[in-house]
Amino acid sequence: MNAKTMERTEKRLVMIGNGMAGMKAIEEILKLAPSTYDITIFGADRHPNYNRVLLSRVLAGEMAAKDITLNNEDWYRERGITLHLGKEVSEIWRGQRRVVASGGVYADYDRLVIATGSSAVILNIPGQELENVLTFRDISDCERIKEASRRFKRAAVIGGGLLGLEAAGGLVDLGMDVTVIHDQMHLMNMQLDKTAGEMLKASLEKRGIKFRLSTITTEILGDGSVGGLRFSDGSAIGCDVVIQAVGIRPNKTLAERANLYCNRGVVVNDYMQTLTDPSIYAVGECTEHRGKTYGLIAPLFEQARILAYHITGHGFKSYRGSVVSSKLKVSGVDVFSAGELKGASPEDEIYYTDRGGGVYKKLVLRDGKVSGAILFGDTNDCTRFFQMMQDEVDVRGERPALLFGNPMSGDTGHSGPASISMMAPSTVVCGCNGVTKKEIVDSIAEGGLTTRHDVTKKTKAGGSCGGCIPLIEELLVSVLGSSFMQRTKGEPICDCAELTHEEVKKEIRTSRLTTVRRAMEVMGWKGEGCGTCRPAINYYVQMTWPGEAKDDPFSRHVNERLHANIQKEGTFSVIPRIYGGAATPDELMRLAGTAKKYNVRAVKITGGQRIALLGIRKEDLRSVWGELGMKSGYAYAKALRTVKTCVGNDWCRFGTQDSMGLGITLEKILEGVLTPAKVKLSVSGCPRNCAESSIKDLGIVGIEGGWEVYIAGCAGVKARVSDLLCAVSGREEVIEIAMAYLEFYREDARYGERTSAWVKRVGLERIKKSVVDDAGERRRLKERMDECLRKRKEDPWEGPDSEEVFSAPIEITPYGGP
């Protein structure tokens, strides 16, 4: 017992176990609330915490034990953590809130975390006492296996699962003759189907591994030390080393002795507290949550974060179980698996099989969503499929193309070939910031980065247009293995909170949150929020509570705060509305007059059929707007931008509809409505589509006797051709559908998400259902849009914007005052 815990001012946190899940929890706790707890940790092992995921690399000799250490003893010391290494806890005295370890060491706790991990399952067969019967679970096992490989030649691995095969791969690399014995029909039967299992076997056989499938081991033979294995059919093989890798078993004995409820593991609730005693938490491989135990790192990290949140009083998030994925880490073999292996019926499975080329892909669907994926030989799409599973994307419309590569990566000349493994190290992945593949890979490998956000923070890649994000994610997976995909369901809004966009929106609605600051307080935000989350919350409160929520100009990007686009040398552009791209001579004269008076540096016809004045100083903005006497074109905002039109049937010999008229009407109705990201419209008078409706967020095309409505097109970084939403006969119907669609987008999309990405994520069917098929729902959406339009702010160029955002510089003269 140290003196520090005796004269405590903080609460005492004791953790039993010093492994990856527990230490992740401690790191998260320190991040959230560095001074809440006085921390004591007991580790039975003499080794400090290390990265177990990389054990097979140590076995293969690619890394040394010290390379995979995560926290050395200095780390604990620097953070004031008391660490007892090599001390096994033998008792938990719950009445006194005390744990007792070997050597008479004890510690008292206010909160206890059990993170005792798991052990290898030992087969109940004769011969276990023989020398060189080993398991493959920790660094000591690795050392023993390596030692044995120096003295012996023949090894047998019992167990053809993930761990067994990784051990076998390592043993072959050490120059041993390896036979894998598996009691099932095919390898990795928990993760793969028969075809993939067979292809995996063929591929590993080429690497020199031998297999005995459907074979049950009944005895380890030998005299003093291992000599061979006998099987249930009476046959036998000779070997000098046996590695048992048949599974893991949660270490729950200590918890059971303390009368904490255990089943297969220590049973915990959604906040990682034990069911029996709320002051005791459990995390990692020793736990059982909703009937499931986990042995892969991603879910354990997820649990660790939930535990940290709850134990530090940020109790918003709960654990609801994980979708797990696994990737075999044997060099030269690419295997990925996640979720369900089999569909409810053959109609729910999609295959691609190329035995000659060694590629097999299978997707399992459930209710039109991806519920499982097996990839063999080509795992480039694993991130995409895993993300689809977690986001529950409706993929019915994409079935024919699903298995054929990622349409979002590499289609704009920004990102080069889609297959990252084929990419040269010097290839530029992020075109905006000029970041190469090598720089990203090095930052991941050397900087210990594990998320896309970390990579962006470190290298800038993906921080600008975002077009290369899918590639960065693939690089992360290729360097770290999919087990490092630390995503919970839906990505957190940013580093300031663990909440997803959906959770934030829900809370804003249910708790009637109307300011950014209040929302952050109620939701337990870390710090003051950042440039990512504050603008998002500012949008969500105003979208949810129109007219009532208060805009926070300092949670907006400068463009939206000053209603003008900042240019590269710090001046601004002014782009007034020119409805439907049709200007009057008066407007043009005012534009020209203002341009001359302020001596603007450039006058540019924009891509959206408008005119931009460039090079305006911040302090001149308001007088320029006054001089123009035109409305703001919102060219700077996440809002309706432009409505591009062709001249239509008034002038064009092909025109079938009045496109200019409808475009101007739509622009006048919808101007000033805030949206999650910019929204561009167009109206073409005939299917020749001169206003380019196929690449607009909402594109309308006149046809004989009616209109076609297209949605979710985009010409930006990730070009996407729009989808046909419906065809209608009347102008009024077009307007109602346009309003309902944009209201649905406003409410449902994540901040910053263009319609193209949103429709791709949620599926066209869902939008059709609410906006087209269900007339009642469409009416309700339109009514909500009407309400928002009634309550929208007046034009920002005319409005009484607060002086404070436009203040002029303070000029001071030497030795004088201001």
């Binding site: 470190k458 921080g463 710090g527 003051e528 929020g529 440039g531 990007h557 400068v558 900042i566 000029e811």
Partner: protein, 101 residues
């Protein structure tokens, strides 16, 4: 380098900024959420963006041009990239803000 009286503290919006110019020098004065006032050179080391127009978060400002994050206390770039800007000493006497230029 001497102190100049530049404005009242309420002339700087909370989590906003004011620019102070002296000859060729341009400083950005920030008023943080906790009420403190800090001043740095008003040009991002990345591409010279006006830091005064950035979003303030904690003790940092995020450049509006390319999201470079600069620590207002010591002027160092927190990322992406490295680098630093000058910092200026600020003192507050009563309602008045003074800056040493």
């Amino acid at each position: 380098m001497i102190f100049y009286r530049v404005c009242k503290i309420t002339d700087i919006p909370v989590m906003g900024s004011r620019i102070v110019n002296l000859g060729p020098e341009s400083a950005a004065l920030f008023r943080l959420y906790d009420g403190s006032v800090l001043a740095i050179e008003n040009a991002c080391p990345h591409k010279g963006g006006p830091l005064s127009e950035g979003i303030v978060s904690g003790n940092s400002v995020i450049c509006p041009m390319h999201n470079t994050r600069v620590d207002l206390r010591d002027g160092t770039v927190e990322g992406p990239d490295t680098g630093s800007v000058r910092t200026y000493e600020v003192k507050i006497e009563g309602e008045e803000v003074w800056i040493r230029l």
